[in-house]
Symmetry: C2
Subunit: 404 residues, 2 copies
Amino acid sequence: MINIGLLGLGTVGSGVVEILKNRKDELKNITGQEIKVKKVLVKNINKERQVKLEKEALTDDFEQVLSDEEISIVVEVTGDLELSYKYITESLKSGKHVVTANKAVVSKYFEELSSLAAEKNLAFIYEASVGGGIPVLKPLREQLSLNEISEVQGILNGTCNYILTRMVNEGKGYDEILKIAQELGYAEADPTADVEGYDTQRKLRILATLSLQGKITEEDILLDGISSITSLDIDHIKNMDATVKLIAEASAYEDGFTAVVQPTIVKNSNYFANVNMAFNSVAFKGDNVGELKFYGPGAGKLPTANAVLSDVLDIVLDIYRKGNPLGEKVLKNYNEKIRGNYYLRISNANEEIVHSLRAIANNVLSLGSQPAILTDEIELSKLMEIITSFNIEKKDYFLARIIS
Amino acid sequence: MINIGLLGLGTVGSGVVEILKNRKDELKNITGQEIKVKKVLVKNINKERQVKLEKEALTDDFEQVLSDEEISIVVEVTGDLELSYKYITESLKSGKHVVTANKAVVSKYFEELSSLAAEKNLAFIYEASVGGGIPVLKPLREQLSLNEISEVQGILNGTCNYILTRMVNEGKGYDEILKIAQELGYAEADPTADVEGYDTQRKLRILATLSLQGKITEEDILLDGISSITSLDIDHIKNMDATVKLIAEASAYEDGFTAVVQPTIVKNSNYFANVNMAFNSVAFKGDNVGELKFYGPGAGKLPTANAVLSDVLDIVLDIYRKGNPLGEKVLKNYNEKIRGNYYLRISNANEEIVHSLRAIANNVLSLGSQPAILTDEIELSKLMEIITSFNIEKKDYFLARIIS
């Protein structure tokens, strides 16, 4: 019998219980043992729940999980950053393997938790934290043994991709589609973490640190979200035979890296153009394997629970990769070297702004009070300087890189 | 020290030696041991080779590999079907793990070799046999523990995809592009196995048998290749805002399956439309994880060698999945139930044929001696009956399913 301590019984936690129940026989066949959720940490043990569990399994006291010596694996799906840090640390310290779906805690305490687990010879794995249901961190780690990874790239946030896809497909405005997304459960009541790119930034921090084998923090990543995009932008983009995605990208650059999360206009013939709605995709390049891309559901109860349980299964079968996966390279931040071709639209522009825009334009898409241009190849830092000199608010411009 | 017996020193074999050499330190760090190619079976030990190996490593006698008790892993990359069957069987029987890149031998002897390996508690793994460098069989097997897989689909042959992509991009004819592909090494001198779909059929046999957990043989798979496609077809397809791919697909159907390899017209907004040139992609659907898709190089020296070595590494680290991955379901073949919307073009058609075509057409794209139509939804078996009744040769028509 393998006993699990489940921390959190929200969407993902319920999914974990459900899959374990539905696949009970198959899992017993494969592992030779029953996998049981012995204790579940919840805030309110008296709350009515859909999920069927023995009443005595529920507890609101983490110590009950921690002190249970029969529990060998802790599955952390609380969603709370600082509490989960405490739970994960204490679990590892008392000899329990840890699986988590929480990208925020992995991102913030990546080095510390990875070291602690390695030191204790325990698993600390987090497949569900990036790309939801897509198996991507495990293949990435495996490819690292045989490859130098030079680039990692992805559409990592289902909410943004859902909003952008529907804006492009339906020609409706940002606010209208955001409202629909909230009603359908694709966006939260407070959508900030998703639409401003913080969620994507955390996931890139994890992918980049693993891929480039050196510490790349959230602060190391240039960030721009999607909330200032308008129907006019979408019209211009469609006329370019293209679509728009929030793309995260980190690349090796000389003795360091560049790392950025930003709206990106991709030609319709580009692979990422057909990654739509709430789907995610992660791509990376290795010197031997070449370019690999992984596509699947970026979130959702069962896909995320499935990813959590593949980690659990690897621990039960003792086939997870041992040791600390993080590298010790000291990498220099070369974000000031990032350059490309950009789309820029300004709202409520005055004549002076229009004049400055024309000076850097390779192509003018619209003029008047909402000028939009395509730049020649230019350094992003230089372009940001120009935008800053306009003294306008973030909500009054939309900037996107263009890739073919 | 881990000693490998390498069977074959062609493209893939040389790649294996090269990566092992370049990644020597990293592999030693990860495994704690040196991985050495101790013996290499070749046809001619005196042939000049690019690859650097100790002279005494080469042998033309398989017994030298088999009887070497220090060799624990045999890597079979000869490319020869019956010889490789013999080598693999004998290696497993004498207690050696086996890794192969040979889809033909896996396809033909899948059940037998899987049983033998399981019985001997040895690894028999073949990541490189499907999808070249893409890690797909391992993730598929892992998802099988937690999911019922209902469908597997893919672009599995780089040669066909290269030819079709260039025909669409450049508007040139089949023969001209085939010749270019041969000159550039994307197609073999005798391209039959690729362009007629046999290679794809073998790979689908492997994917389908794993996915649906019951025996699905090559003969169970309906097969059509790409060699009869013409520039006229490409013109019609482009006018449909679409492109064309050789797609392999197996689906669960009632108490059995359907399985087919055929040219498929995909709308430009479909995921597969942006899988171009020699790239491959494999997709499957699980009831928990949802839809996963994997993309990468379908062939090539280093990508294939990389896949072979990920298998080797899993054996060295003892983290490969134990047991027989094949299921024991008895699955009924429902290929006669396959139905869809099709594109059909006939060359040198007479009036009678044109008349029959109009009767099943939802849309007529061209008339005259080269009529082309789009059908209503129709059973493939019924459509084939109609085509057979025309009494024309395979080279004189092109049939493709249409998906959106």
